[in-house]
């Protein structure tokens, strides 16, 4: 009998990206188990809407990287305001999204789509607030990088070349976990290490961080 598992957006998109995702090899064995009927995956619409947004971000970055070097700000503003640019990003990302939907809806034994009429109570978010109040994240320092070529950058005005960033689980993360619990999934699978800080006793689903 397969065990129910809720998957975080990063798991689903990573596997669909395959070799082009840095953590694909970590997630691959999990999907081997799904294929061997050890798990049945529960896919929420919340996961899917996040997946669509992720694909739009990725498509934007990809189209941006494809541009020839040396574009000025005014060149880029003209470009992003053109229907051609918008359509390119929209079409690429939606094609990818439809590909995922098409595949997962054809195998109801391994992918369970959560009912569109499923209701979640305010109590769920109250529980979420309780979790978030208890968990405090960490600060990280990041170097500024060029989004196009990944080179490190310095600010000409203040001389800084890095920034402080607060990293922790937040509303979206907690919502995923609580949906998983509401659906009575035995496991919640993610690749995001911050989830491991959620106190075990606070959620019904067992959180598994693939790394």
């Amino acid at each position: 009998m397969p065990v129910s598992a809720y998957v975080d957006t990063n798991i689903l998109v990573s596997y669909a990206l395959g070799e082009n995702d840095k953590r694909f090899h970590a997630v691959e064995p999990f999907f081997e188990d799904v294929y061997q009927d050890k798990f049945v995956l529960h896919i929420s619409h919340f996961t899917l809407l996040e997946a669509l947004h992720t694909l739009r971000k990725m498509a934007t970055d990809e189209v941006y990287r494809e541009l020839s070097d040396g574009c000025s700000q005014s060149d880029l503003i003209t470009l992003v305001n053109s229907p051609a640019f918008k359509n390119e990003v929209k079409d690429r990302s939606f094609k990818a999204f439809k590909t995922i939907i098409d595949i997962i809806t054809r195998d109801p034994d391994r992918f369970k789509i959560v009912e569109p009429e499923k209701l979640y109570s305010e109590k769920m978010f109250t529980e979420g607030l309780g979790i978030l109040s208890e968990v405090f994240g960490e600060f990280r320092v990041y170097r500024y990088r060029c989004k196009k070529c990944d080179s490190y950058l310095d600010c000409d005005a203040c001389g800084f070349n890095c920034e402080i960033s607060y990293k922790a689980i937040n509303a979206s993360d907690v919502t995923h976990v609580l949906i998983s619990s509401t659906l009575e999934c035995k496991y919640f699978y993610t690749m995001d290490q911050y989830f491991s800080r959620i106190p075990r006793e606070k959620v019904k689903s067992e959180i598994v961080v693939i790394s």
Binding site: N10, G18, F94, T105, I113
Partner: protein
């Protein structure tokens, strides 16, 4: 003297779940015909999907059986993104391997999607 009739055997023979699924399949065939006609002859855009989605909501008692409920969820989702309907009994047992790398073309560069989503959630 009155004697109470025992319907238990008759009910067992009826096999409610099988009957429900058959009824559903018949209704769905009709809806699919309407949908195909709309796609082919009247409206090639989202309208056909919306009609299908509305019909699914109105005419099917999705709580009838788990299979119907599951099918309803899948068809609603497919309709939402403009994908054609598929058969209730259809099963693609190779969906998992087909999903692997299915959208790798979206990025030529190797990315870390977990970090992308983390940044997105952090705003």
């Amino acid at each position: 003297m009155y004697r109470l009739l025992d319907f238990s055997t008759s009910l067992e023979n009826l096999n409610i779940e099988k009957t429900a699924n058959t009824m559903f399949a018949k209704r769905f065939e009709f809806l699919r015909h309407v949908y195909d006609s709309l796609i082919g002859e009247i409206s090639p855009d989202r309208t056909s999907s919306i009609v299908l989605e509305t019909s699914l909501k109105r005419f099917f008692h999705k709580e009838l059986t788990p299979e119907v409920s599951n099918y309803y969820s899948r068809m609603s989702l497919r309709s939402l993104v403009g994908l054609p309907v598929i058969d209730i009994n259809g099963r693609d047992n190779d969906a998992v391997p087909r999903l692997k790398g299915s959208i790798s073309w979206i990025s030529k560069k190797k990315v870390d999607v977990t970090e992308i989503i983390r940044d997105m959630r952090d705003g």
